[in-house]
Amino acid sequence: MTGFSEHDADAKRGNGDASAHTSVATPPDHLASVERRLRALVGLTPDAMLIIGSDDAILVVNDQVARLFGHRPEDLVGRPARLLFAEHVGGALSAGAAIDAARSQPVVLELAGRRRDGGVFPVDVSLAPVDGDEGMVAAVIRDMTARRAADAALQASERRFRAFLELAPDAVVIVGGGGRIVLVNAQLERLFGYRREELLGRPVEVLLPERLRGAHERHRRGYGDEPEVRAMGAGLDLLGRRRDGTEFPVDISLSPLETEEGSLVAAAIRDVTERRRAERELKAAYRELESFSYSVSHDLRAPLRSIDGFSSIILEEHADGLGDEGRRLFERVRAASQRMGELIDDLLLLSRVSRTEMTLRPVDLGALARQVAARLADDHPSRHVEMEIDVEDVVPGDPGLLRVALENLLGNAWKFTRGRDPAHVTFTATGPPGAREYHIRDNGAGFDMAYADKLFGPFQRLHGPRDFEGNGIGLATVQRIVRRHGGRVSARGAVGEGAEFSFTLRAVEAPMSSNARS
């Protein structure tokens, strides 16, 4: 028979048989069916159930008692109920006292259960007198181990959470229903000048200037409809208001929190006064730089023109009085002023490359390279260079800046292949979509790899001006352009064996092929 075991003193004394039969006469049929159903019910419950007699002895137990306490049911029947409990520190009543009290009224309390192996575990116990049976107590015992562990873990987790919040460098406020402040950390107290008691329960708008509160409330309700983690008002100027009424610029990021108490929103607030100031200073510095460059372009070039101009006039119209040496010296004056002019131009280009706002558009690199190559061919009609352009990528970039970069790279390739016949320059691409690398290779003079790290510094040259003209700005410009596009540039070469310059651009999206190539 499943469900429970009964103690029957008579049965035990009578035939020594510890089985679960009673010697009571078989109850009438309807009672029997009621009993069957009760047994089925009692057998199902996950809790341990007992009936305790007036002498504190266990009369009836269900099978769950075995599971919970480790005793066989038949071993418990007839034993004192006390044996299932250990002394419960901090308990209001002992087990015995509770059972006693339950003879006249229901009692519910926490106790410490004791297993057969001596192990102690938390239990919730409900006791009640059994109607009609004087002195008998029914008991339901529930194992609270898991629940207590979960509670403890939750509390520990909450403690950790609060500790973490207090440590956070940002001011944090947690907002609950109706926009009321549920929690703030120490940083928020410091930032806004409030003690937390002054803020808890108040609407979060108290942290904003009055004139902004209405709009914020509307936004807050909107956020509640579609909560998501986000930086609030990126790019906008948000303001916070301190207790003393002063206002300051802030950045805010929001995260929704789901808790048992409902949906909360956590906001991290950062004082960006310093950052705004730094941004303003940077903008001012850029404007200063721009006006400086502008005046450089006027003021520096004019005297150069004078130097070159008057030297030329002297050479043309007063050559006779000069003599050979004099003429040569004036030629050198002219050459020097021309070099200086190119230097100024390149420097201005380099600074403009850094300053200009980039406008991103799809740029067909292959087409751009072909245009640059055509221009090179036009400018140097006496040269014959074999150009191979094998790039079909269309990438997001600033067309003007990328043109300058290609002009420099391809121009260099042309320049350094001057002694070669045939001169060979290729523009290719490698790598998977999203990680493309572009290469410009030439079979020209090359360079010594030992100096490779100097290549991209401004004014660094690995060839003397007698071999190849140039002032060493070009590659620094290319590097700056590539960097502004989020990429990197590198070079490989060997003396007398040509060079290969490679660069990547920002891998934001895969390049779009302008034509499908089979």
């Binding site: 502008y294 372009s297 005297p303 023109r305 004078s306 101009g309 008057f310």
Partner: protein
């Protein structure tokens, strides 16, 4: 008519024009106010310069202001104005053309290129800019 405040540049322009061997009356003005005064005087006689070489960086009144005033006040025939300046800023180019300049040349640093530029400008506007014979009208 040359509007140029820099002495050296002025001399170089004159030199370049002389090299072209063209017989023309050359008027050199040093700032915007003088230039406008001259243009008004000339305009009052129903005349206009055959060519104006205009620097942008002028004291007191900028070259662009001169151009603006010139176009605003002139009656036909309008004077061809070529801006000859050191500035290669896009905004200056755009504004010069917007105000009605006929050409914009950045002064080359190299003298021979400078001479070539001045000569090309004057050749175009002084030699070729001639009204077609009446029969073809």
């Amino acid at each position: 008519m040359i509007v140029e405040d820099n002495d050296d540049d002025a001399d170089l322009i004159l030199h370049a024009l002389e090299r072209g061997g063209r017989e023309s009356e050359i008027v050199l003005l040093r700032d915007g106010t003088e230039a406008l005064g001259h243009l008004r005087a000339v305009g009052g006689r129903g005349d206009a310069p055959a060519l104006v070489l205009l620097d942008l960086k002028l004291p007191r009144v900028s070259g662009l202001d001169v151009l603006r005033a010139l176009r605003a006040e002139e009656r036909s025939p309008s004077a061809p104005v070529v801006v000859l300046t050191t500035s290669r800023e896009d905004r200056d180019v755009a504004e010069a053309y917007a105000l009605g300049a006929n050409g914009y040349v950045v002064k080359p640093v190299e003298f021979s290129a400078f001479v070539a530029a001045v000569q090309r400008i004057s050749a175009y506007w002084l030699d070729t800019n001639v009204p077609p014979p009446e029969r073809l009208l």
